[in-house]
Symmetry: C2
Subunit: 299 residues, 2 copies
């Protein structure tokens, strides 16, 4: 993809999101210490904060002028929970993530199961607090929380996780099936990130849908690049175990299309997402920059 | 406890709740089939529906005249999820529950982990739909859903589960600590059941608090009786593995107070709960009957 015409600096968003996550970790309700530790360990893991930045940049693209770092943090909480559960021994059984031990290796399996579940209502509360505290935010709380919960739920992220797991050790067959899994597993939360950004800015429904469509396409592109990096990178570069997909016998895009074919598909999806935004006058430099990052990232 | 002065028939409530659960199972969103199966298996397990009946009877005691079986079903969904996760190999590792194989024995561990998590937003949605559909229910949706989620969350039910697990294989030491665990694990959701019943009836805050206090006391009484039954009953009578607490080296009330001492404590708690309700003119025959059932139940 072409470089953005102007330099775009979204690093401050990332710092704000990290600060919001740190604040949430410091103000957990009274909890058993092992549970609080596992929640904090899960939430504080370093990360790209891509989903959170999709919230903040979608919010601004839709005309929002306030601070939505709390809402972005809520999305990152849901993402962090999904990673912790995805790495469980009964799921993908991974020991390394984001350059450090996975939550279950550091805090034990039971605390990880419970912490993961506990994060969902904490994220719902964080989103409700963030939106409810905005100017005329109250009526937007319920639809925004519902959108996030649906994306995180059975028909979204965690449904995709289980489909992904079931697909292990079955031959990489149809691209259509793989796309359905990836769209649920990764696309649903990315689409929701963009949608709630627009909803928080009180954007019209057509804009919210366009942002959601962009996020869904970008989510699938992200997952395709993930598949590619799993083949082409080392564990040190990724901060997680490389070559894991092949080890688990998973269907992947490079297995079906080859590395180049997979990358072509990812680029086409990112372009398609940007085109949708452009048609709705929502393609900001920032959102285009995030689309670029998804394609050019190396970890 | 004394028998209620008049016969009370709450069996229709139970049928309504079962019907509401069945309807929810029939109208799940499109999901991977293994996930849908595990969700249905978990939700459809036979049960006393005590928590659901605390919702319906608290609602009526607070003056409600409509149908809250959908809200009661939402509470039962949260309870069912907690049982499925509690029985996981990484938690209490149980194979039998409610007279049948536990969810992870029937549907596998990964599907059980994911189904459990998936049930939380489904329950939130079911509660929101039930309350939102009531006459002037809309403003009550958010506080009712928040109350349920908090009870199910880290500082409530699942926090208690983890504390309970951590307490395994440590000597039964202080009654205070055990009470704190039991109140979180069982009391939080029972208190919330009573509270949301009152909230759905638009009861004043003092009444909601009194109902919550009754539910919390009854929840602790319930858990004490659970501990007693684990010692005194057979697996066939319980529908789950008897003697499991001792096997797991858990602190229990009978271990600390003896069977009679434990039952005395349970009865005192149920009386205390009823007294609180009576002081607020909320002690209906139905609620007194449920308090009796908690003490006299044999499984």
């Amino acid at each position: 993809m072409a470089e953005p015409m102007f330099a775009v600096d979204i690093a401050p968003d990332r710092s704000d999101i990290d600060a919001a996550i740190a604040k949430l970790c410091d103000s957990l309700p009274p909890l058993p210490s092992r549970l609080a530790e596992a929640i904090r360990y899960t939430l504080r893991g370093p990360g790209k904060r891509l989903r959170g930045m999709l919230v903040t940049t979608s919010y601004r693209a839709a005309g929002g002028g306030g601070d939505v770092s709390g809402l972005a943090a809520a999305v990152e909480m849901l993402h962090a929970y999904s990673l912790a559960h995805d790495d469980l021994p009964c799921m993908d059984d991974d020991e390394m993530r984001r350059g450090r031990a996975t939550t279950h290796k550091a805090c034990g399996v039971p605390a990880t199961v419970v912490a993961g579940v506990a994060i969902i209502p904490l994220a719902a509360r964080a989103a409700a607090d963030a939106v409810g505290g905005m100017h005329r935010g109250a009526p937007r709380v319920a639809p925004i929380v519902a959108t996030l919960m649906q994306a995180a739920g059975a028909s979204g992220m965690i449904g995709g996780q289980l489909q992904d797991l079931i697909a292990e050790n079955t031959p990489a067959d149809s691209l259509e099936k793989l796309e359905r899994i990836h769209r649920a597993k990764t696309g649903a939360l990315m689409a929701a990130s963009c949608k709630v950004g627009g909803m928080a800015a009180d954007a019209p429904d057509t804009s919210v849908q366009a942002l959601g469509s962009f996020g869904a396409d970008l989510g699938l592109a992200f997952q395709i690049v993930d598949d590619v990096l799993d083949v082409t990178s080392s564990s040190a570069e990724l901060g997680k175990t490389a070559g894991r997909d092949a080890e688990l016998g998973k269907s992947t895009y490079p297995a079906l299309l080859g590395v180049d074919g997979a990358m072509d598909r990812a680029i086409a999806l990112a372009r398609q997402g940007c085109r949708t935004l452009n048609e709705h006058n929502l393609l900001s430099q920032e959102l285009r920059h995030l689309a670029d990052l998804v394609i050019t990232r190396t970890h």
